[in-house]
């Protein structure tokens, strides 16, 4: 029998236990990957292709405070600004949904297409959308989810605004970072609200990414000491500002992660020592016939490492497959969007599995090393 065969036979001699050990490692690593992916989802906003060229301008007070429409002409004249569009969150509910999974924004259609250049859409549909004041552009994800067709009516009940929208779907788009959003004419919203002359935010495209810092300070300076001071920032830092709002939740999930890992260690270590304790006598025989401590340690390590690795493979691979196949967006009603298990997460979980294999081997190995051959042979169970 080869050494490897010996190790394999040993690991599987108690099939039930091997299965349960692998199972518990797999479940725990599945959980670990899930939690790490959750943290990633909450803390690392996805990056759009054109994000480096885009700026977001909001009222310095807060996102809830509108900006005057008259800022547009000043923004247009700031050097480095290629295109500006108003961008106002409507916050409507679709059908009878309590929480609608897609956001809706009022924009200036012509200006909008100059700011968001990376989304793919057919030119004919864009033209039709621009031409129809009550038309809207709907992301492909939303189209698919609600089984909508171009030409359909889209009714939205306002929660932020005291008015309802009756839109007609004129076109679709895809290839943006979040293909769910609905865009419609700002003029239509103004009409319904009696034209208060305000917008939610401005979204801007700059000429070059390295000039965006200058544009940001130019914008902030322009509206300094006016009744509506602004905060301009890159799209990335705008998205990051939401992360800070999560507050302590991130820390709480992280602590849960460590408890899961700790529990996992505890249980696996105990299983391994159970497996070794059971064959103290055999190990003593091995020692008696001339195997060294180092070799016996290798046997134990290889066995526990093998079991942990197998569990890790099933748990990590299973998590990647499970979350990849599941429509998380639909299940969480749009709360989680991507929930992508990235290689980095998998690698970190694999490291935990490997560590687990090594740590579980240490205790039993020390016990074996400490026991003399005679003592070992005397052990009963």
């Amino acid at each position: 029998m080869t050494i490897l065969g010996f190790i394999r036979k040993n690991a599987l001699r108690n099939r039930r236990r091997a299965l349960l050990s692998v199972g518990s490692v797999a479940v725990s690593l599945f959980l670990l990957v899930t939690l790490m992916t959750l943290i990633r989802e909450l803390t690392i906003p996805p990056e759009d292709v054109g994000a480096s060229l885009r700026l977001v301008v909001r009222n310095k007070v807060s996102l809830a405070q509108p900006l005057p429409y008259k800022q547009l002409s000043l923004l247009d004249r700031i050097p480095g600004v290629v295109a500006v569009t108003p961008f106002t969150f409507f916050g409507g509910n679709y059908r009878d949904e309590k929480v609608t999974s897609f956001a809706q924004f009022a924009v200036d259609p012509v200006r909008f297409t100059n700011v968001f250049v990376e989304s793919r859409s057919s030119p004919g549909q864009i033209a039709a959308w621009i031409a129809n004041r009550t038309g809207c552009l709907v992301g492909m994800d939303t189209m698919r989810r609600y089984d909508m067709k171009v030409g359909d009516k889209l009714k939205l009940t306002g929660t932020f605004y005291p008015c309802d929208l009756e839109l007609k779907i004129e076109g679709t788009y895809q290839g943006s970072v979040d293909d769910r959003t609905v865009f419609f004419h700002h003029k239509y919203l103004d009409e319904l609200t009696g034209d208060p002359g305000s917008v939610g935010t401005w979204w801007i495209r700059v000429a070059a990414a390295d000039a965006s810092g200058d544009v940001v300070s130019a914008i902030n300076r322009t509206f300094q000491n006016t009744s509506a001071e602004v905060r301009a920032e890159s799209e990335r830092s705008f998205q990051m500002s939401f992360v800070s709002m999560w507050g302590n939740i991130q820390v709480l999930i992280e602590s849960i992660c460590s408890v899961v890992v700790f529990t996992l260690m505890l249980v696996t270590v105990s299983t391994m020592s159970m497996a070794i304790r059971e064959r103290f006598r055999e190990l003593a025989i091995l020692k008696a016939i001339g195997f060294r401590r180092r070799e016996i340690f290798t046997f134990i390590l290889a066995e526990s490492f093998g079991l942990a690795a197998l569990g890790g493979l099933i748990g990590i691979g299973g998590a990647a497959l499970f979350w990849g196949l599941l429509d998380v967006q639909k299940l969480s009603n749009g709360f989680l969007v991507y929930f992508e298990v990235v290689p980095r997460t998998m690698a970190r979980a694999a490291l935990v599995a490997a560590l687990l294999g090594v740590v579980s081997a240490i205790g039993p190995s020390l016990a074996v090393a400490r026991t003399s051959v005679v003592e070992g042979l005397k052990t009963l169970d």
Binding site: V27, S244, M245, N248, I256, V267, S270, S332
Partner: protein
């Protein structure tokens, strides 16, 4: 049927070395489950404890939060002379209009920003909310740019301490007092004068109305009048009921608790199974002896189920004790947690809440894990043939 009770109970105690890891594993699973649930319970509790049962809250139909509601000045004018509204000591109707908005403010310790919920109130607005008590400083003066801040919030944001300044664009708001909202949603708010708020944030409209009817009959007639008038398009309900429904924020945490609870319990079941199988494997002879002594197969089965359940219950006790200890520590130290409220988009402060039912749930959870984990091993134990069991080493 007789179960060798003493034998099984003694086993859990005497052979603790082989079970301690499983015990702790179950303890940790229970602790995580109970703590997450108590987190969700804490968030729900702060909204459930908000409001005075005598008050009616009026918001725009279709709005999902007070902050996205709009009430016009005409509506206020029309509503304040309705019959059935209680009068205060000065003979004025107890009705108040609030202005609610957000200010983005830096967190204490320079870790980013979050939104603060600003509530513009009138003096009667304060009268209508007896939950709110001033603890430090003085109350704000109408017509001045002054704010009073919830104590718990003041600790979490830079510049919100007593005497500090809150920036709102060009405006500067001075913190003149701190209040305690008695564990309600007001504990996550900053209050200022309603008219000052309308000026500063250029608001023509109010956000919500709060009023107090004389009695239950007046409550019914007032809500009826307000809701049925098509011109208003307003929704009126008891303030406590309105807040009790604002629980969206707790939903994801509850989902997380269930997901973690179920996944970790599968792991715990595996661990329990492993332990029980090992226990039975090393006690084959003892089982044989018990059978010879006259215990039936059923007794053996139930005995091992009992042992597994007991083992898990011990783990459950430890888990519940750990989470309760942590809860007590957090409460005693006055530690609060904050996250984003999904309805108002502002920072909401909450504490763990651990009702006794939750502790019992944690214990029940552990017993179920233990029983499921021992079914198969216990079955196996009961099926061991007596003769070979006695022969085994």
């Amino acid at each position: 049927m007789v179960i060798p009770l003493r034998y099984h109970v003694r086993n859990v105690v005497v052979r603790w070395r082989s079970t301690v890891a499983t015990l702790l594993g179950i303890a940790l699973v229970v602790a995580v489950f109970v703590l997450l649930r108590s987190l969700a319970a804490g968030i729900e509790k702060s909204s459930a404890q908000t409001g005075d049962p005598r008050n009616i809250l009026v918001v725009r139909k279709g709005s999902q939060a007070e902050s996205s509601s709009l009430v016009t000045r005409e509506q206020l004018q029309a509503l304040q002379y309705l019959k059935g509204i209680a009068l205060n000591a000065e003979g004025k109707p107890l009705i108040s209009a609030d202005v609610i908005t957000l200010i983005s403010a830096p967190r204490a310790g320079g870790t980013g920003e979050a939104n603060l919920l600003i509530r513009g109130v009138t003096s009667r607005g304060r009268e209508l909310r007896p939950q709110v008590h001033l603890t430090t400083g003085r109350w704000l003066e109408p017509g001045k740019r002054e704010v009073v801040v919830a104590e718990n919030l003041a600790r979490r944001f830079a510049g919100l301490e007593m005497g500090g300044t809150l920036k709102a664009g060009m405006g500067r708001l001075k913190v003149v007092g701190l209040f305690n909202g008695g564990g309600s949603a007001y504990d996550s708010e900053v209050w200022m004068d309603a008219d000052e708020a309308r000026l500063l944030f250029e608001r023509e409209m109010y956000s919500s109305l709060i009023l107090r009817p004389i009695d239950d009959d007046a409550y019914r007639s007032l809500t009826n009048t307000i809701e049925s008038d098509k011109r208003f398009a307003l929704r009126a309900e008891r303030e406590v009921d309105y807040y009790a429904q604002q629980t969206l924020t707790a939903v994801p945490i509850k989902i997380l608790a269930s997901l973690l609870g179920s996944a970790m319990s599968i792991g715990a079941v595996f661990a329990a199974m492993n332990t029980m199988y090992a226990a039975i494997g090393s006690r084959t002879r003892e089982i044989g002896t018990l059978r010879v002594l006259g215990y039936s197969k059923m007794s053996i089965l139930c005995g091992f189920l009992l042992e597994g359940g007991l083992l898990a219950l011990l783990g459950g006790f430890i888990g519940v004790a750990v989470s309760y200890g942590l809860y007590q520590y957090v409460i005693l130290r006055g530690i609060t947690f904050g996250t984003m409220n999904f309805q108002s988009f502002s920072e909401t402060i909450f504490q763990f809440s651990m009702p006794p039912a939750l502790l019992l749930l944690g214990l029940a959870f552990s017993v179920v894990v233990g029983l499921i984990g021992s079914i198969l091993p216990a079955w196996r134990a009961s099926q061991i043939p007596v003769i070979s069991a006695l022969k085994s080493l």
